[in-house]
Point group: C2
Chain length 211, copies 2
């Protein structure tokens, strides 16, 4: 999500790879919560966690010349934060976290193979979320309304991770498929589509704009 | 937390009591995630969830004449959001949610008595968090630094809930006790201290400024 924001705003950055599951001491000293992202700003600020990163970018790196990712009207702003929180909180807790921990965390820690019951629960929850997104997309083009917002990037980042692992059945995704196809075509999305995890190939259509 | 923000900013409001555990249809229609808070603004905006509420208040109700609850310098802003997220996310997930669900959710749903193993886990986690807060308070007066911020209200709201239920051992709380005593003495805190849940008395020192 943070990479999408930075790309959308045209902010250059370097990436370091961190495995939060390993809880390495050097990383815990930067962030005792062992979460990502962590941003190191050119001016020396260390920005820890999604909320801090979002606000740091919005405040210090959003170009004034382009429209921002948070609407300025009360209803649009509220809907953007409601659904950003949905993606970062509810969707993560009920879907993405399970899939990532089972498929990637366990692999990195060499702590066994994914638990089928957990993956089934995540799949079931994803289907419920997709129903809700279909309900939203019936009346709006983007997650929070008529315009692209932070909420689209928040949710699309989760979709991208799940899609890499082949965990989205696009035939059953309804309107969310069209929405994701539109996001995937944006320049800001390109860097994510060339990502590859060592030893874990992407789903064959992961980078296809027509999937 | 939202009540503390509104009181600090001098914004008047009425309270409705909602039991999110009951998942009542009328409430789910307003917020399908069944979370609190939900704000109904005089101008008609419906503001759903903690992040939307925080931003709505900061943007539309923070008086310009007083200092706000989010520092304007990059480091202070980042630390405020990092620790606000800590309270809303990590502390809630590891401590408050367990206690509230076991002691209040189950009671409201008449779905059995609190599970001792869950309460023991919450107690253990709280002790770890208190150690971290002691580390923070060794070098700062407020959670995120030299000034009172959003992060203090976020964490104090959790402390207040736990304290009501008698789940904080203040003798073992170290510097967090002094910090909480300072917050408890603020005018914004007073309305919380007169709260009483029907049929569930508060810990005897809940409202005492000297506890």
């Amino acid at each position: 999500m943070i990479r999408l924001m930075l790309a959308e705003y045209g902010v250059a950055f370097d990436l370091d790879e961190v495995s939060p599951w390993k809880r390495e001491q050097a990383f815990l000293e930067v962030n005792p919560a062992a979460t990502l992202p962590v941003l190191f700003d050119d001016e020396g600020a260390v920005v820890v966690g999604p909320l801090a990163a979002i606000h740091h970018i919005e405040r210090f790196h959003a170009p004034e010349a382009v429209g921002g990712l948070v609407p300025t009207d009360p209803a649009g702003q509220a809907e953007t934060w409601r659904l950003t929180e949905w993606a970062l909180g509810k969707f993560n807790d009920e879907v993405t976290r399970y899939v990532i921990e089972e498929k990637i965390g366990k692999r990195e820690l060499r702590s066994g193979s994914p638990e089928p019951a957990v993956l089934r629960a995540a799949k079931h929850n994803l289907a419920e979320h997709l129903q809700y997104f279909a309900f939203l997309f019936a009346t709006r083009s983007w997650v929070a309304g008529k315009e692209l917002t932070l909420a689209d990037f928040a949710l699309a980042a989760h979709f991208s991770c799940l899609d890499y692992l082949g965990d989205i059945d696009w035939d059953a995704a309804g309107e969310a498929k069209d929405w994701y196809a539109r996001l995937k075509s944006r320049p800001a999305f390109r860097p994510l589509l060339v990502d590859r995890m060592h030893g874990m190939p992407a789903n064959p259509t992961y980078a296809d704009l027509d999937f």
